[in-house]
């Protein structure tokens, strides 16, 4: 069926060989042509959003089919930040793997390190030999990280709906968390602090006092954020009943973390499958019966308060553990190098260098072997999981008995949670897609790895 006078059309010559409908794309009869394809086509618009868009929470690409302002279909395009971290880890030894996996989900580096370190320790069979102080330090840093991550989730979520004050407040507070990271690990982000066998550094001088100050300051400032948002009618109007996902939806789509807890189900791996001694801390799992963006926002706010409670308990324990080791006693695994602040602000411990270079040949050989070759891990596979700020972060490690991971796969919560985009935003308004995605807080570094 040709709808134009094809005999005179220079751009679409008629063809006799074809059977069935033939559509030419020139001439003045577009309406007829389109009507032949799809009667509703004039109403359907497919909008590409991202990967470079200020409201898509990173380099997420959304392909939205809209009808007026309503979204009829929503699909995600991911992979714009694929970094090949898992492949790269196969070419580095077990300890070096930490520096790679910490850069996956860049808002929760401590969790990436912890889940990897727990996996390596489980493969080695040394889980119960990790010194108590290392466990307490891990828990403390993870909880500080939970606060900083939730703050960014709230801040960027606010920014994306135009609440810039929420963003500035969130980032101001997050800076306090980063100061702590810097004090304890030497780096603001991507700190490679938690290593297989323990943590890289002992508590620095005055570190615990700084944590105390941090906790008391946050106790004053977090309520400010709550006062700014909780009852704010505009904020509530944008978040309430948006991005609805009930328990069945969460389980089917593998959604964990605040989104799962907003359905009222108290699934928190810290309580259910404790690691790093979480069973000995006193804290509550926050749940709400509002499985929407607002419920998730409130859960994040309240979880920060719980994290402060855990941090306080950690400080008390750390004061009692002064001088205790932070690395596993087995010198065949423990990283030999020590760090100290040199005149240039950072560097290796001069005492350690003096020891290996001037005093003990054996120590030098040991250092060299462990740093260049690394330790061997018995063949096998393990799966470890932690409750990251976004949900179940897990690590599947396969060892072939060598000095490097044979395969390291990370089950990032953002990756699974992002699958809920379609379920949460189809049928809603275009503007609510942003809110729905911000409410599960995907971090593209973790999604794409």
């Amino acid at each position: 069926m040709s709808t134009t006078d094809t005999g005179t059309d220079p751009y679409a010559q008629s063809q006799d060989t074809t059977s069935g409908p033939v559509f030419t794309v020139t001439g003045q009869d577009w309406d007829e042509v389109v009507a032949g394809v799809d009667p509703d086509a004039s109403e359907r618009i497919v909008v590409n959003m991202g990967p470079q868009h200020p409201s898509t929470h990173g380099v997420l690409r959304l392909i939205l089919e809209i009808e007026g302002e309503s979204v009829t279909e929503a699909r995600c395009g991911i992979g714009y930040l694929h970094t090949g971290i898992e492949k790269n880890m196969e070419y580095r030894n077990w300890t070096q793997g930490v520096t790679f996996c910490t850069r996956m989900d860049y808002l929760s580096p401590m969790y990436n390190e912890a889940v990897y370190a727990l996996g390596v320790e489980k493969l080695l069979g040394i889980t119960d030999q990790i010194p108590e102080k290392a466990d307490v330090l891990r828990v403390m840093m993870m909880e500080v990280n939970r606060i900083s991550s939730h703050l960014v989730a709230i801040a960027t979520g606010g920014m994306e709906i135009g609440a810039l004050t929420v963003m500035t407040v969130g980032f101001r507070e997050r800076e306090l968390c980063l100061d702590l990271f810097e004090l304890f690990s030497g780096l603001r982000m991507n700190s490679a602090y938690i290593r297989p066998g323990g943590v890289s550094q002992d508590v620095p001088e005055g570190g615990l006092d700084a944590v105390d100050r941090f906790v008391s300051l946050m106790r004053k400032r977090l309520p400010e954020l709550a006062a700014l948002c909780n009852q704010n009618p505009i904020f509530k109007g944008r978040l309430k009943d948006v991005g609805y996902l009930d328990l069945a939806g969460c389980l089917a789509l593998g959604v964990t973390g605040p989104a799962l807890r907003s359905t009222g189900y108290d699934w928190d791996l810290r309580k259910k499958q404790p690691y790093c001694g979480y069973e000995t801390y006193d804290f509550d799992v926050i749940t709400r019966d509002e499985p929407d963006a607002y419920g998730r926002f409130r859960i994040r706010l309240d979880e920060m308060d719980e994290s402060l409670r855990i941090i306080e308990q950690c400080v008390t324990r750390l004061r009692a553990l002064e001088g205790a080791p932070v690395m596993v006693a087995d010198k065949k695994i423990a990283w030999p190098s020590q760090l100290a602040i040199g005149p240039d602000g950072q560097g290796n411990s001069l005492e350690h260098i003096r020891h290996i270079m001037g005093e003990s040949m054996e120590a030098l050989i040991h250092h060299f072997k462990l740093v260049t070759e690394g330790f061997r891990v018995p063949a096998g596979q393990v799966y470890t999981s932690v409750e990251s700020p976004r949900g179940e972060l897990a690590c599947h490690l396969v060892s072939d008995g060598g000095t490097r991971p044979y395969r390291a796969h990370f089950r990032d919560p953002s990756f699974s949670n992002l699958q809920a985009t379609a379920a949460m935003s189809e049928g809603g308004m275009l503007a609510d897609v942003i809110v729905a995605i911000a409410s599960i807080d995907p971090v593209m570094g973790g999604v794409d790895r």
């Binding site: 991911i78 992979g79 694929h82 090949g84 898992e86 492949k87 790269n88 070419y91 580095r92 489980k122 493969l123 080695l124 069979g125 040394i126 030999q129 389980l251 089917a252 789509l253 593998g254 959604v255 189900y265 699934w267 259910k272 499958q273 006693a329 087995d330 010198k331 065949k332 695994i333 040991h366 070759e373 690394g374 330790f375 061997r376 891990v377 018995p378 063949a379 096998g380 596979q381 799966y383 999981s385 179940e392 897990a394 599947h396 396969v398 072939d400 008995g401 060598g402 000095t403 490097r404 044979y406 395969r407 796969h409 089950r411 990756f415 699974s416 992002l418 699958q419 794409d448 790895r449």
Partner: protein, 246 residues
């Protein structure tokens, strides 16, 4: 120096020790996945260490025998009942209980059925699929690709791992998207990185790599793809081309 020998680092329980294979007494089949050659990562004439001829097979923890211990037996019994066949004879090839984790090796054409039982039976109830990924063992002829499924039972607070092995020549596995919708992206990722085809998946396309990307990057025969870094006349090769300990 520590005087506490903690072990665990040097003596892999079921792999090679001192060049000899140590087979645990209860093992039925030893799953050799790799053969390690030499000592210092140099091959051919460049290896002057004297260890060049060293060959050590690498084996994964072997299949366990009953009792597996604890709730592992409950799960195995219940599955045997539901499938109507014994472990080893039908859908489930073998069971490995290692490092407090239960692994079921499942035949590829039965994976959807096993998942359906694991999800739906109240005594099993693995309602959440944590993820699917792949592992490539190029030396395990006929079973080169392993798809690994991690399931979580929130009801019973248990975790289980399913492993499906397929040959390189015919890398097809039944999709479990109809049982676990969350498997959608995970199966796409496994296809993208390993080239394992999940039959019955609604839209098995690349997910992380660009659509027109050639090859499957996480395969062991796919190079890391780094470039040599040159600075002041010195060249540092990419990590996969450097000398390393094997």
């Amino acid at each position: 120096m520590s005087d506490v020998p903690t072990g665990g680092t040097q003596e892999p329980s079921s792999t090679a020790v001192g060049g000899e294979e140590v087979v645990p007494s209860e093992a039925r089949t030893l799953e050799v996945v790799e053969v390690r050659e030499g000592m210092f990562g140099v091959h051919g004439t460049g290896d002057t260490s004297g260890y060049g001829g060293l060959q050590r097979p690498v084996a994964m923890p072997a299949a366990s025998r009953r009792p597996f211990g604890g709730w592992y037996d409950d799960v195995a019994d219940q599955l045997e009942r539901l499938l109507g066949e014994e472990i080893g004879s039908g859908a489930i090839e073998s069971v490995v209980a290692d490092r407090d984790e239960l692994t079921l090796h499942v035949r590829r054409e039965r994976i959807r059925e096993v998942c359906q039982h694991l999800r739906d039976d109240p005594a099993l109830r693995f309602e959440l699929c944590s993820g699917i990924s792949g592992v490539h063992f190029p030396h395990e002829i006929g079973r080169e690709f392993h798809a690994v499924y991690h399931l979580l039972s929130m009801t019973h607070n248990r975790r289980i791992r399913l492993e499906v092995a397929v040959p390189d020549s015919d890398p097809h596995i039944e999709s479990v998207v109809s049982v676990y919708p969350t498997a959608d992206w995970h199966e796409r990722e496994t296809w993208d990185f390993f080239g394992i085809v999940f039959d019955g998946h609604p839209a098995l396309t690349r997910i992380l790599m660009p659509d027109d990307w050639p090859g499957h990057p996480q395969r062991k025969d796919y190079p890391l793809g780094g470039i040599p870094v040159e600075y002041k006349g010195a060249t540092v090769p990419p990590p996969d081309e450097r000398r390393s300990y094997s």
